[in-house]
Subunit: 315 residues, 4 copies
């Protein structure tokens, strides 16, 4: 099932569930996959930055991706960013064979000039095969590579297999508007734009023309509702829902410990059996866990989904 460029909704970024001892947790993986489908996501992305891909061995990564692909009834996109094209090709071919809908490629930090970025994506597409749909991940805060809108346009126009932008430039609202204006004026073909950055600007991103979110915020069900409100033109309702979650979104978006927050909440919601990360990992202190619990209790006043039994026991 290939990724659909016209879809609107949420691609959820899946964390990789581990047992306390660091082994991949298959039961949690299945439970998480089912949960995402129940949330109403239109797709799942595995092995992204927040999927701890660099901490997994090739066989583990492939097995995780295959397991999610087999179980999910929606397209699955697989992160294949790699220090070299050889590893990128191997993993791409393997996950495509396993049924992936597309692959996602982040730029290496060594890229500086516009031409270097464009050339990189040209060579990457040749390496994985020009028939393989790919997503450009635009995340300057992490990758130190800044892509001007005109560079994204060049990538899109040179590579017919580029189907989607994972947008997490920061600030980035104007970039969405510019890309959509390129489409309107006819200088760029249409691609999907799904936004990351933990969702912290999703309220306005969907108003600027984004098709939805591609992020792993610990309430993907909320993200689905928000995009649905926005698509229905219910802007105030979208903002009301968003604002209730913003204190937690903001807390989860901290570099270094964001994944720890995400896994902790997913564990608290009964989806993951453990919030273990592989090393190196940012961990939550006791104070930080209490802060997350406090935010969840406050959120529960507005959103039933945050009424967690386990949290009512805290304090």
């Amino acid at each position: 099932m290939l990724a659909k460029p016209d879809a609107k909704g949420v691609y959820v970024i899946a964390p990789t569930p581990f047992h306390d001892d660091g082994r991949v947790d298959d039961a949690s993986t299945d439970r998480m996959t089912d949960f995402f489908i129940q949330c109403g996501v239109i797709g799942i992305t595995v092995l992204g930055q927040m999927g701890e891909a660099p901490k997994m061995e090739h066989q583990e990564a492939l097995a995780l991706a295959s397991r999610v692909i087999r179980r999910a009834s929606v397209p699955v996109i697989v992160g294949v960013s790699s220090a070299g094209f050889a590893g990128m090709r191997t993993l791409s071919r393997a996950v495509l064979d396993a049924g992936a809908a597309a692959v996602m490629i982040a730029p290496p930090p060594s890229l500086k000039t516009d031409d270097q970025i464009v050339t990189y994506y040209r060579q990457a597409s040749e390496a994985i095969g020009e028939d393989v749909p790919f997503v450009v991940q635009d995340y300057p805060l992490t990758f130190s590579v800044v892509m001007a809108p005109s560079v994204i346009r060049r990538i899109v126009m040179e590579n017919p297999s580029c189907i989607m932008l994972k947008h997490e430039d920061w600030p980035g609202l104007e970039k969405i508007s510019t890309l959509r204006s390129y489409e309107r004026e006819g200088s760029m073909r249409h691609i999907s734009v799904f936004c990351g950055n933990g969702g912290i600007f999703l309220d306005f991103e969907v108003e600027r023309g984004a098709d939805g979110a591609m992020t792993g915020y610990c309430f993907p069900d909320m993200l689905v509702d928000l995009v649905r409100h926005a698509a229905a033109g219910q802007h105030d309702a979208a903002h009301d829902l968003f604002d209730a979650h913003l204190p937690l979104i903001r807390y989860e978006q901290q570099p270094g410990i964001g994944l720890a927050v995400r896994k902790y909440v997913l564990m608290s919601r009964g989806i993951l059996a453990s919030d273990t990360q592989r090393r190196p990992a940012g961990l939550l202190s006791k104070a930080a866990r209490e802060e997350v619990n406090y935010l969840l209790r406050r959120l529960a006043r507005h959103d039933d989904r945050a009424r967690l039994k386990s949290l009512q026991d805290v304090h």
Copy 2:
């Protein structure tokens, strides 16, 4: 009036008001100074990053600082970060003569190792005079210099004139807890910790032991109330107030255009005559201005201070 290490409250980061043609606007400077005092701030910081200091000539910078110092009834801290110690010393001496309470020093991006950072502050203190109180600005996202808590302790213990940390590490809550634990265990003397980062973690920062905020969020009056609630142990009230402002705090905190948002709101509130910045500057598109207006209208439901006449006219 020297900065008090035991004070709790808000040091507001002052923008530099310009006329539409780029000249410094004295009338707005005075109005802004008075407004800050009315808000209940315990101090004002001028010529920081958000004060467009690098875009001002020496004489202009000195005149601006002197004007605010003369008019304000609270301590004024002046940013003196400079590419070399000669310029830092000149400006420090001049503003101290004019009545500044302290100076603030950010680390140059070339600093990498712990020792390099410690040595830099030692030499800076010698350059400006060991009797001159100074604030360490810890802002890795902008300056690319990461200071471990143990490095801050070394700076504090080697330099009796180091009186305050402007804390804007990100994530940074654990750093506050660690520094306060150093004090409790007796390995570091007490210094003030005031938090920046646009206030986006202020709700928890004050709970972790920060003395308040040093930031320029466009509602400093809210920051004052929040710190007051926190000091009184009214945590839920503090969070309620904070959460109402968070959508705008989040919007204002965007690198590149944050100052544009701040000046636009201060203009909308009748404090600045113009939201002009000197170049290079990030500007607000029409869409962005409408987004800010929308956030202000939503905020006005919770906080009377956001009921701006000018905004009611929009749309």
Copy 3:
């Protein structure tokens, strides 16, 4: 055969030989291995930065390392730097099983503070097994991680299995002197120090206390002679030899195209069948190849080893 901490001489950094079509070239690998032994190197390092490790798949990398280990009569060190500890452990165990003498680990660019660097090597050693000898690669220009001498001392003292420093800080002469002074004063146990950076400071590095070179300059036979001269106290002879090669060393040390120069000369010397690199790769223009040929002809006036038949045919 384990790496010997007391040895003096040259660990040559081996490039990975490819056929024109990008497959690994076994015949050239064998010929190159034999050539290095004939040159008198005391060890070989494979899969370093200049070994195009990130461009190879796991199985290829392991096969290359195993082939060189089987054929060489000297210790072989294998680069195992990896974005995560899982891949690092897998490759380390595999190459140790195949007979490697030690592994080499470079720091990830995300490390900033002294403590972060020390913690990383502690966790890396735990991950690969505390019985596995490892080399610290200190190469700030490429990895953006600056290790103060005191940090290297902490790594050495916390990890008994740390046996060697690959030194390529720049400038770095004082660092060698400082580390050796730590040993003399008894605050650090002895480790080997082998210098990289293409050899461009090797003349003085050996005088400062380095044990030799670990670099892949295209005349490893010269490096062996230089270290031998230095060990014998023949400093002028060492400098005479070095100075004759410096124009080419300098040319080869250019980031981005240095490996292209190295492979081109090794091909010209009859050791590699092809100078092919895998993409992304810096390539030599026609003008650059002519410049290298010119440098080789000039070098041949001083060093018979540069009298290449193939080059006499050029022009």
Copy 4:
């Protein structure tokens, strides 16, 4: 006297002479200026990176530039790079009034995309005045800004007052060839290209089409001879001369301590009264000074200019 775009030769980068106590040394400044003229340079550049500009106050910088301009019989270019356009304009106007031939502008590290770089130079030219000739400094290793040749072309074509490139990209030979090919094909007007980087590739840079050197290597007289040989087609003679100096050029080119080497040798040659730098400064250890002395003694075998009385006294 304006900078001539058709000149070939050497623009020497002047260090700023200080007394031992850190005051600017006027007598040494005059002696140095006269020495440079005697060397045969076609121009002098003051207040560059190696001129310790950021460590000087505005009035000092202006006085130094004016003094050199008054005394020199050749064009003087003044570095005016600044964190903001206000300071850049002020200094530019002042030195132009004092008789400077042109100003030199380096890009701030915040620039990332092609468009950002081009826009910066457009705004800088507007700020200083579109009639003021300026030099683009292209030095990625220090400024972290990478300018593709096509970006330089855009800057040249958008700004008639851009007269020269100070080229110190690394590696950079292909960039010179590409820029000259732009001129030949008619897509870019002619500008001067003078090369920096301490001269470490000057032997080939002049063969690729550079007009000469703009660097402060401690033997500018050698640089003048080298460019003269190259202009006369005496390539072997140029390389012979260059190779004799390369060990010292290489030693002087070390970041952090390069200026210390340069000032030490200029002091040894009797030109500067002191090799003092203002802080922060990289200093030469005793071992490093001995290494420089050794290199000078070896150089003296080939070049009479290195037969320094003071050095014969060492050892």
